[in-house]
Symmetry: C2
Subunit: 207 residues, 2 copies
C-alpha cells in the first residue's frame, strides 16, 4: 500500500528503509516514520546515531563471538564469572535470554548458527573448531549446551558431543521438561517421556 | 526483559531507542537491532540517514500542513489537480490513505488533530482559521470532510460546518455505509440506518 503517490520523497525513503526491518510492513513503517517526525530533532538524532554506532563501534568478541563494545567482551573478561564452564548457544540473542534468567554465571560460546543441512549450514560454517581450542586450552571443566530442542539443535548437540567427548570435560545440556504453565494433556509424548525419565526429587521450597 | 545485564552498552542503547517506536516492545527492538547488525555498513548508514533527513529536511506545507520536502507541497503546487475542492482530514496519514485510493484529485487541508474535549483538544488547537482563510480567498467551490466516524470526528465535522456554512461553498462528507466484505447481520444499527437513508441507484458496472 501507499505505493503510488508520495507527497514527500524523504518520507517515502524512510518508510522503505523501516519496512526492511523483520516483521514490519508498510503500514507499521509509516506509523514509525510519522512518530519519529513528531519527536524533537535531538531525539531523532540520538535514535539514528545509536543505530549507526551499533554497526560501526561494536564487534564480535574474539573469544566467544558475542557482540561486544570491546575486543574481548565484558563476560569473557569478568573475573567474578566461572571460567571453568562454557555455555554453547546458537546466537547472540540466546546469550541475552540466558543472562536475563540470572541463573548462569559461566562463560559463553556463540556458534553463530546451528547445523542445518536443509539450509546448507554444516559444522564448518559454525565456530566449532574455536570451541574445541577453548575447551582444550583453558582449563575448562564443563561444556553446557543450551541449544533448541529441534531436530537441528539435537543434531548440533550430538555433533559437539562427538567432537568434545575425548576432551576430558563434563558435557551437559539444558533440562528438557514441561514448561511452567503447560498442561500435561497437551504435552507431546517425547517431552512427557523425557520428563518422566528425568524426574527429580520434589523440593517444596523451589518447585 | 533483557534489563539486567547487557554485554554491550551500544546494543542496549539501540534497543532502548527502537523500543520507543509505537507498538515495539523490547523483544522486537532486539530483533530489529540484531537484524541491522547483520546488514552491510552502507545499508545501515542509508537506513539511519533516511531517518535523520526525514526530520531535518522535511517541513509542513505552509498551505495545507501536509508533510513536504518543499515549502509548499507537491499536491498544492500541482496544476493538474482540482484546486476548487479541499479535502479536510485529521492527519498526514489520512492524506496518504486517500491518495492511495486514486479516487481524489483535489487539494487537502490537514487539521493536525480532531476536536476531543477528553484529550483537551479544542478548535483553537487545530488549523481551522487557516482553513477558513483558504476557503474564502482562493475560489474554492467544495469542502469535502473526510473525518473518522467517531464521536470526535462527527463533532469536528459539525463544528467545521458551522464555521463554513456562510462561505458560499458546498460542504460534503465521505459516504457512511457498509464496508466491502461486511455482513449486514454484524453491522451496527446506526451505520445500517444511515446506509438505508442514503441508498443509491444500483449500477451493475460499478457496485
Amino acid at each position: 500500500m501507499y505505493k503510488e503517490r508520495w507527497p514527500s520523497q524523504l518520507l517515502k525513503n524512510t518508510v522503505e528503509e523501516l519496512s526492511s526491518l523483520p516483521g514490519v510492513g508498510a503500514r507499521s513503517a509509516l506509523r514509525f516514520a510519522l512518530h519519529l517526525l513528531k519527536q524533537p530533532e535531538e531525539n531523532v538524532e540520538r535514535f539514528s546515531n545509536s543505530i549507526i554506532r551499533l554497526k560501526r563501534d561494536t564487534n564480535y568478541c574474539k573469544v566467544c563471538n558475542m557482540i561486544s563494545d570491546t575486543e574481548v567482551c565484558q563476560i569473557c573478561t569478568d573475573s567474578r564469572r566461572d571460567h571453568s564452564c562454557i555455555c554453547v548457544v546458537e546466537s547472540i540473542r540466546d546469550v541475552l535470554s540466558i543472562e536475563n534468567t540470572m541463573q548462569y554465571n559461566g562463560l559463553y560460546h556463540v556458534l553463530g548458527g546451528i547445523i542445518s543441512p536443509m539450509d546448507g549450514i554444516g559444522p564448518s560454517d559454525l565456530s566449532i573448531s574455536r570451541l574445541k581450542e577453548r575447551v582444550e586450552s583453558e582449563g575448562v571443566e564443563e561444556v553446557f549446551m543450551a541449544l533448541s530442542t529441534t531436530m537441528e539443535g539435537e543434531t548440533t548437540a550430538y555433533y559437539l558431543y562427538k567432537i568434545l567427548k575425548n576432551s576430558n570435560v563434563r558435557i551437559s545440556t539444558i533440562a528438557r521438561g514441561i514448561g511452567f504453565g503447560d498442561e500435561l494433556e497437551y504435552t507431546d509424548e517425547v517431552t512427557l517421556g523425557r520428563s518422566i525419565q528425568n524426574r527429580q526429587p520434589f523440593d517444596p521450597m523451589n518447585k
